[in-house]
């Protein structure tokens, strides 16, 4: 399935227990702040920034939209917590940036070395989102497991 995502839009995959949001990176760069270094992540204009949350409804969609907006438009840094930091369990949203993202329900958030895997709810397991000109291609999405919504970012 192919979906169109404009420069000022965000697409949601709304499931039974989780929500997945995706927007274009527009070639912007992103700051990753580790304890030792600041790493700048560069992207291509058609790359995707994806955010996943275990929750549904307008409140969750708004949170995902705000997260993507802060990262892309305000150059908000991604602050990296050390392993085992007590704040890790408070985190509600996972982010993936690049040309491809795979969703899995079988990984622990923030512990996966495969950098194109994002944790998500069970109904989204196996979904793959690929960047394409003007939008994204979504494979493995069962339309019975949720709906797709597009809103202004």
């Amino acid at each position: 399935m192919q979906i169109s995502i404009g420069a000022d839009e965000v697409a949601y995959l709304c499931g039974r227990t989780g929500t997945f949001a995706v927007a274009k990176t527009l070639g912007e760069f992103f700051y990753l702040e580790t304890q030792a270094d600041e790493i700048v992540l560069f992207t291509e204009p058609e790359d995707l920034i994806a955010a996943s949350s275990f929750g549904i409804g307008e409140k969750v969609r708004r949170g995902l939209r705000c997260t993507i907006y802060q990262l892309r438009e305000l150059e908000a840094p991604l602050i990296v917590l050390p392993k085992g930091h007590p704040a890790s369990r408070r985190l509600k949203t996972v982010i993936s940036i690049g040309p491809r993202t795979r969703l899995s329900c079988k990984i622990q958030p923030g512990t996966h070395p495969e950098q194109d895997i994002l944790c998500g709810p069970e109904e989204f397991h196996g979904i793959e989102v690929l960047a394409m000109p003007g939008g994204a291609e979504i494979t493995g999405f069962d339309e019975d497991s949720g709906e797709i919504m597009i809103e202004k970012l």
């Binding site: 790493i39 700048v40 955010a51 890790s88 996972v94 690049g98 958030p109 923030g110």
Partner: protein, 50 residues
């Protein structure tokens, strides 16, 4: 790239492969990964691995 928003946990950070770059216009030095590098300070694409 996969990480967590809102006070993120990026996971296995030590496995990220970042290169050192220097901007030839403003002399800014930075670590980066990904394609089409440019200086995060002055936005110049006149950068080189250092």
């Amino acid at each position: 790239m996969c990480t967590v928003g809102g006070g993120p946990d990026i996971g296995e950070v030590e496995q990220l492969v970042a290169k050192d770059y220097e901007c030839l216009d403003c002399k800014n030095k930075f670590k980066a990964m990904g394609r089409r590098p440019r200086c995060p300070s002055c936005k110049s694409r006149n950068v080189k691995p250092s």
